[in-house]
């Protein structure tokens, strides 16, 4: 796996020699500063602080008082057996859980110190700062490749052609897709292969310049080669973004993440640096899970 990852890593990505691509993304990115200025090292203040988060769907409680810090410019992996609440946790981070009518949330989520889950905060503004990539790639079938990338900007009122064109290239470069599609930006998005479609969805999420990227099993529907491309992309993206990834694949969590959180039955069992979680976990249950003894 690592053999295939290394060669791809250097060719696409945010190529440094070419003038505007990756860098402006951070410069223009909204609202990052205050808390980062407060804490000098980027890893100092967490990007997301979650405190006593409980989520209910009707009468059932899907998350039980979860508290967790998501580090800046790092990959945090969420693992756990099916139905443990890891997707619910991820979706509540940008308030996508609210799409379920009977969903209810308690606790606190702060993005760089700013409350994002109180009723007064518009979910729309939260989702512009916290992007999301889904398990099943879902490029809009009525739109071309380029239109898919810029849709988030266009439907939020951006009209300037030059901005849209620049952002298309930047985002596709960051998603390691530019070289494969630059000659057919007008082609229908669904003409791409499954792995390319997923990278297009990542480019689409990047184009609105979020600060945090949530990924819900982004590679579980892809073949091993496409998976390794997504993984090397994640490693590249964490230089610019804070990433939270849900995965069923423990090797994947070990390969790409800096921190790992283990969820079981709606509770956060253990959270720590990935290396420690996979070699010397503090809890017996974590050890059983990462060694494949259950789940």
């Amino acid at each position: 796996m690592n053999l295939t990852m290394t060669p791809q890593e250097d060719k696409p990505a945010p190529a440094p020699p070419v003038e505007p691509p990756a860098v402006p993304v951070r410069v223009e990115a909204p609202a990052a500063p205050q808390s980062r200025a407060a804490a000098e090292p980027p890893a100092g203040a967490p990007a997301l602080t979650v405190r006593k988060l409980s989520v209910y769907f009707g009468a059932t409680q899907a998350l039980k008082s979860v508290s967790l810090d998501v580090a800046v410019h790092a990959v945090t992996a969420i693992i756990g057996p099916s139905g443990c609440g890891k997707s619910t946790f991820l979706r509540s981070l940008n308030r996508m859980h609210e799409l379920v009518p009977e969903a209810r949330m308690e606790g606190e989520i702060r993005l760089f110190g700013q409350d994002i889950c109180s009723p007064g905060v518009e979910p729309v503004t939260v989702r512009r700062r916290i992007g999301m990539v889904f398990q099943k790639s879902n490029p809009f079938p009525t739109m071309s490749i380029a239109e898919n990338v810029t849709v988030g900007l266009r439907l939020n009122g951006e009209r300037r052609r030059s901005v849209l064109n620049d952002r298309t290239e930047q985002s596709l470069r960051m998603a390691a897709l530019w070289d494969e599609v630059k000659d057919r930006l007008g082609a229908p998005a669904i003409s791409l292969s499954g792995g390319q479609q997923q990278r297009l969805c990542i480019a689409r999420a990047l184009a609105v310049q979020p600060q945090v990227l949530l990924m819900d099993e982004p590679a579980s529907a892809l073949d091993p080669l496409a998976t390794s491309k997504i993984e090397s992309l994640i490693l590249e993206l964490k230089k610019e973004y804070t990433i939270v990834i849900v995965t069923h694949n423990m090797q994947q969590a070990a390969r790409v993440s800096d921190y790992t959180a283990f969820f079981y039955l709606g509770e956060l069992v253990e959270f720590g640096p990935t290396a420690k979680m996979f070699t010397s976990p503090a809890k017996k249950r974590t050890e059983d899970y990462v060694t494949g003894r259950f789940g």
Partner: protein, 283 residues
């Protein structure tokens, strides 16, 4: 099992299949008969004058149904103006918003409305529009056809909107795109072909309505100069000519019926062509 038993069972199977096939063909046969009869009786009177001239007075031969053809299109245009926005937005409500309890009632109401005999629509609009306006009018005709289209379009729109995978809605919302824009630019756009199909089929359905127009558009032997005046329509003209005692008018009625049927068939064929290479969603 003996051989005769086996043959008997095979025979029953073939018999059953033959009966089912015959019934299926019986569905198609009327269409063939209708076309055959209309072409035989009507084609002789379909000529240039039929599409370009007004009806001639009794006793004079020739003339055409230009005003009725134009009238049908005007009435359909007015009907679409009312039926399409209300029907499509109603479908949007049922599919995208709406509580299941209220939706149940709306759907039930729409289904009942779809079954209301068209003459009752005519009487209702007569009371609601024609009486207050003190006269038959194109408006009244358009309104009655539009009202008939609403439940049809609403149900088909709801169905095709439900076919749009939820992943597209989620992807759009996760980009920070507001809900109404998600519905208008992502969901409706994805379902556009299905909605257009539903609209066209609803138009084809009301294009041939006669009964409701008797009380509303009324018919007109001349060009319509104002939407507040009575207006001619193909089905009305066919009806009036068919019950007249004149052979010449009977021939014109056949021609009108043929044109109307071709019009509706054209819409249906158009819908098939439109939906043929309908975009396959990725698996």
């Amino acid at each position: 099992m003996s051989a005769t038993n086996h043959r008997w069972r095979k025979f029953k199977n073939v018999l059953m299949q033959a009966v089912a096939l015959a019934c299926a063909l019986l569905v198609v046969a009327p269409l063939g008969l209708v076309f055959y009869h209309l072409i035989k009786s009507g084609i002789g009177s379909v000529n240039w004058a039929f599409f370009t001239q007004l009806p001639k007075p009794v006793g004079e031969s020739g003339g055409g149904m230009a005003n009725a053809i134009a009238g049908t299109f005007i009435l359909l245009g007015l009907a679409a103006l009312i039926g399409v926005p209300v029907g499509v937005l109603g479908g949007v409500y049922l599919s995208e918003y709406g509580s299941s309890r209220l939706n149940w009632w709306i759907r039930f109401a729409a289904d009942v409305l779809n079954g209301v005999p068209s003459i009752i629509w005519g009487i209702v609009v007569y009371a609601l529009v024609v009486v207050p306006m003190k006269g038959f009018s194109a408006w009244a005709g358009g309104i009655v056809l539009g009202m008939m289209m609403i439940p049809l379009i609403m149900r088909t729109s709801e169905e095709v909107l439900q076919l749009v995978p939820n992943g597209y809605r989620e992807a759009s919302l996760a980009l920070g795109i507001p809900r109404w824009r998600t519905i208008v630019q992502i969901v409706l756009r994805t379902a556009m072909k299905g909605i257009v199909t539903g609209v066209l089929l609803a138009l084809a359905r009301v294009a041939g309505e006669t009964a409701p127009l008797l009380f509303t558009a009324f018919g007109n032997r001349f060009w319509n100069h104002s939407l507040s005046d009575p207006i001619a329509a193909l089905p009305l003209q066919i009806f009036n000519y068919a019950i007249s005692p004149y052979d010449d008018w009977h021939r014109q009625a056949w021609a009108g019926a043929l044109v109307l049927l071709l019009l509706i068939t054209a819409v249906n064929v158009g819908v098939r062509v439109l939906t043929r290479d309908r975009f396959q969603k990725p698996a």
